[in-house]
């Protein structure tokens, strides 16, 4: 019986007793009060004050109490009128070619009354595949669309209300945090929107410290904001909040030193030592390994770091009890000395073996008393010690990828170690920089179940691939300096009647809907699939709440709560009108990755195609009143076949072309761990014509004018030899220069005289003082800064070696053994009309 009870199950302090309030209180705040816009960010609003004498603000309560029943006619009428018929307009995909919106695809807006929708959770944080929830499971089955949520709970937010209060108001039975979608029955009682239990409002909650008013609990920030952060009192801590602890485990075998990654890592770490999240208690440590494990004694007072070598890898032990993981502010000079000398220390090494398993065990022993983050750099297959792996990939099998083998782990060592780490609040992040097969499907387990992230830089070499070096440097900088939460747990709750049955993402599911996240970072996305256990009759809306309890890097225990409210509908056309095509695609991608591992790749591909066929067939038979020829889809799902085709041609699922097993497995990891926005960039890259950028429709952000060219379809017919195009694929960008591109563009933007003079490995746009150059650079910079990973830019022309990869992203075109978009549509139509 190792793991402790969840802190979220601790009962809160007793609620205040009833007092007789004379004020007449409205039943549903949404009915009568105009909700002001979101409160500006304020800090440390203390709620534990003695209540001032009960002076009821009678002028607020002159309206008669409106029952919750009044909500239903307004919602019912809304679902018929304000639901835009635009979303259900039938589009014949075979005829309409320009389906992409000019800019980004906007998320659908749920069909709620305006005042509820204004305070609803932002779609950047919380998105549902169906913005109108079906009333029964049979209705959901008829629609043939998956029901699930996509979460990005720890996203970097510009505006986040933070509340300090001695007791946090939660429902007594289901422990839901109070949120904007609860119902206040009168001044003293509130009804939970997830379990419908009536709770008492505690005395301190009646006083609103922001406005100084008493008796208006619905105006408190917890009830006005769908995304809010609480500073948690001590009941939410099982142990004193841990300090930030960072341990770096570095591979120093001959192969690793050859690639030269140590220079980049040590340099970046030296530069970022000041910006590592943490306070004066921050701890840091280093372990290097090849066939032995090397520890570094960084005790304050030593003149230089002392290396201690442990060669017994079958029974790993820590050579000294402390001073291997030291306080950063006290031992700073030693750490800097070590980082400066580390790359040269192993310059002449001839060790080729790699004992990754024992090194991980040693690192775990070192970090387990406190918990923290372990960063592992590995450049080859681990060959000795426990957890050694064999090369499983056969290069001859790559070309015939009808049935890809070895997608599941070879050993359970890494999974077991990840679970041990998760129990001690240690997260493991893996940076894989190998050129040969390194069994990422087994190694990735160490991150997958300990809430870490996997980064892959195939064929990393400091001289042979400078773009990879740039990418590692920028990614590492972001990785080291971004916000981090320690010893976190997350719970996703839904209204009674809905239940969650599958989870996708990097975490360990400790018990039903309690996710154990030793580290939580702003670039991790999660997804859950739900089913409707009981019919949602008598419910107008359902709510979902994601509560993330974590320790900030400064040692404060905080709870971030997001609440989403969605309407319930009972007609199939309403369900289709509220479908969110990007969320559906992302959820299907995660489901397909699971299917690849449990069944096979071809099963997963068939399942993806069937998802498209079934949903369009259901639309055609149930919703369309007039049967027209052609392939008809509702306007909100018009991009669905295109996205499914993009997934089928994605590196994770493609059968054409030979892709290395590690790259395929990494693509699958990305599909499961990326938040929605970045996932869609990778699945369906954006293509823009950039040789004639104008300021028409440009964005003006902080005195920069950023041109907004129209997004084009990914087809070669949109490319033209007289122009230049930019393709944005998330982690990489291609600037394709046509053969007859205007010489003005070549000189003013690229700084070369003719097309033939464009260098083959150009990665930077020269900073020339021309209007075109500044416009293009502004556009590229704007695209780049809106994502956490660094996008490498490649300038390519017809003879470039990267042209093949550029052309592979042309999803709508025919390629060897893969259908073109039009052929795919014909195939769908044929299957639907069977």
């Amino acid at each position: 019986m190792g793991l402790h009870q969840t802190p979220a199950a601790v009962t809160g302090p007793p609620l205040a007793a009833h007092s007789d309030a004379a004020a007449v209180y409205p039943a549903h705040p949404a009915q009568m009060h105009r909700y002001p816009s979101l409160q500006p960010v304020y800090q440390s609003v203390s709620g534990a004050q003695t209540a001032p004498p009960a002076q009821t603000q009678t002028q607020l309560y002159t309206q008669p109490s409106a029952g919750a029943a009044q909500l239903s006619p307004s919602l019912a009428s809304l679902s018929l009128q304000s639901q835009p018929p635009e979303a259900l307009r039938a589009v014949n995909l075979l005829q309409e070619r320009s389906l992409l919106p000019p800019g980004a695809v906007p998320p659908p807006v749920p069909c709620l009354p305006q005042d509820l929708q204004k305070i609803n959770c932002s779609p950047e944080v919380f998105r549902c595949t169906l913005t109108s929830i079906p009333q029964t499971q049979s209705l959901l089955n008829k629609a043939k669309l998956p029901l699930g949520l996509l979460l990005h709970p720890f996203k970097d937010l510009s505006q986040l209300p933070v509340v300090t209060s001695s007791n946090i108001v939660r429902c007594r039975s289901c422990r839901t945090y109070i949120n904007p979608f609860v119902t206040f029955l009168d001044a003293r009682r509130w009804k939970c929107n997830l379990c419908h239990r009536v709770n008492d409002v505690p005395e301190e909650f009646m006083y609103n410290p922001v406005s100084g008013l008493y008796g208006a609990p619905h105006k408190r920030p917890e009830v006005q904001n769908a995304t809010i952060e609480f500073i948690a009192p001590s009941e939410y801590m099982l142990r004193p909040p841990q300090p930030a602890a960072y341990l770096f485990v570095l591979d120093v075998s001959h192969n690793a030193v050859e690639t030269g990654y140590l220079d980049v890592v040590c340099q970046t770490l030296l530069e970022s030592l000041d910006s590592l999240p943490g306070d004066t208690r921050t701890k840091i440590g280093f372990i290097t390994f090849d066939s032995n494990i090397h520890f570094y004694n960084l005790q304050e007072g030593l003149s230089q770091p002392q290396m201690l070598i442990v060669s017994d890898i079958d029974d790993v032990f820590l050579p000294t009890p402390d001073s291997l993981l030291v306080n950063l502010s006290e031992c700073r000079e030693l750490v800097q000395d070590l980082l400066a000398s580390l790359p040269q220390m192993f310059g002449q090494t001839m060790e080729t073996q790699s004992a990754l398993g024992p090194a991980l065990q040693a690192a775990f022993k070192l970090l387990s008393p406190t918990g923290g983050r372990m960063t592992v750099f590995q450049t080859q297959l681990p060959t000795i010690g426990i957890g050694a792996l064999k090369p499983r990939e056969e290069p001859s099998h790559r070309a015939n990828a009808k049935d890809v083998q070895h997608l599941s782990p070879a050993t359970d060592f890494y999974k077991k170690l990840a679970l041990d780490c998760s129990g001690h609040h240690v997260a493991v992040d893996l940076f894989l920089l190998s050129a040969q097969y390194s069994d990422l499907s087994s190694l990735g387990c160490i991150s997958r179940y300990s809430a870490g992230s996997v980064y892959f830089y195939p064929s990393y070499h400091k001289q042979h691939s400078p773009p990879q070096t740039e990418r590692l440097q920028k990614d590492l900088k972001r990785y080291l300096t971004r916000k981090i939460g320690f010893e976190a747990v997350m719970r996703v709750r839904c209204t009674k009647g809905l239940s969650i049955h599958t989870f996708h993402g990097n975490f360990f599911v400790r018990s039903t809907d309690l996710l154990s996240l030793p580290n939580v970072n702003p670039d991790a996305g999660f997804a859950v699939q739900m089913s409707i256990e009981e019919n949602l009759l008598d419910l107008q809306t359902v709510s979902f709440q994601a509560a993330l309890l974590y320790t900030s890097s400064k040692g404060e225990r905080r709870i971030r709560v997001h609440t989403l409210c969605l309407p319930v509908v009972n007609s199939l056309s309403d369900i289709f009108a509220g479908a969110d095509v990007q969320a559906i695609t992302a959820l299907l991608a995660s489901m397909a990755v699971d299917r690849c591992v449990t069944a096979s790749l071809s099963d997963a591909r068939d399942a993806l195609i069937n998802a498209a066929i079934d949903s369009l067939a259901s639309f055609r038979s149930s919703v369309l009143s007039i049967q027209q020829p052609g392939l008809l889809a509702p306007a909100c799902l018009r991009l669905f076949p295109l996205y499914i085709l993009a997934l089928l041609k994605h590196k994770a699922f493609r059968t054409s072309g030979s892709s290395r097993l590690d790259e395929r497995v990494f693509a699958m990891c990305q599909l499961k761990q990326q938040p929605l926005v970045y996932l869609m960039m990778m699945v369906h890259p954006g293509l823009y014509r950039v040789d004639e950028l104008t300021d028409e429709g440009a964005l003006n952000i902080s005195d920069r004018t950023i041109p907004q060219p129209r997004a084009l379809q990914l087809s070669v017919e949109k490319l033209s030899k007289d122009a230049a195009f930019l393709m944005d694929c998330g982690t990489v960008m291609y600037l394709w220069v046509g053969r007859n591109c205007s010489p003005v563009f070549l000189t003013e933007v690229l700084g070369v005289e003719s097309h033939a003079a464009v260098p083959l490995n150009m990665n930077q746009l020269p900073e020339l003082d021309t209007a075109r150059s500044s416009r293009l650079r502004a556009f590229v910079d704007w695209l780049r800064e809106r994502r956490p990973c660094h996008a490498v830019l490649h300038v390519i022309r017809d003879e470039s070696p990267l042209k093949a990869e550029f052309m592979q992203n042309m999803i709508e075109d025919l390629s060897e053994s893969a259908l073109s978009y039009y052929e795919f549509l014909l195939h769908l139509q044929q299957q639907i009309s069977k």
Binding site: M1, L3, S408, K415, H501, T502, F503, F508
Partner: protein, 139 residues
């Protein structure tokens, strides 16, 4: 001789009943949050092989003593046990894997399986009891 066979299979069946009940209790503890996934799965994985051995023993006893009907009744369960044990993917930590048990409704399907086995073993218990009494009377 008959009686001895049936007495031993009766004892074997009792053991299997207790094991099924233990599985059901542990799985429902996990459902109600009394234990965590890791300890639940390690407890259950410990008893997977003993259960398989006990079920195989019962089947072989019936085969050896030439009670064909009961043998054919026991055979599907024994082969299902063996199939489940062999088909565990390489990366999983046994038949009950703590990282997968909350996904895709596996908890519910394991619970259902344990309930069905309990019902089956109870049925077998009464068959053996009846046969044992018959054998003892006829001796």
């Amino acid at each position: 001789m008959e009686a001895a066979v049936f007495i031993s299979s009766l004892v074997d069946c009792c053991a299997l009943i207790f094991l099924s009940v233990y599985f059901i209790i542990t799985l429902s503890d996990l459902e109600c949050d009394y234990i965590n996934a890791r300890s639940c799965c390690s407890k259950l994985n410990k008893w997977v092989v003993p259960e398989m051995v006990a079920q195989a023993l019962a089947t072989v006893l019936m085969l050896v003593s030439m009670h064909w009907f009961v043998f054919l009744l026991n055979l599907p369960v024994a082969s299902w046990d063996a199939y489940r044990y062999v088909k565990v993917p390489m990366g999983n930590m046994g038949v009950y894997d703590p990282t997968e048990i909350h996904n895709r409704g596996q908890l519910k399907s394991h619970m259902k399986e344990a309930m069905i086995k309990l019902g089956f073993h109870l049925l077998c218990f009464f068959i053996y009891l009846y046969s044992m009494i018959l054998a003892l009377i006829n001796d």
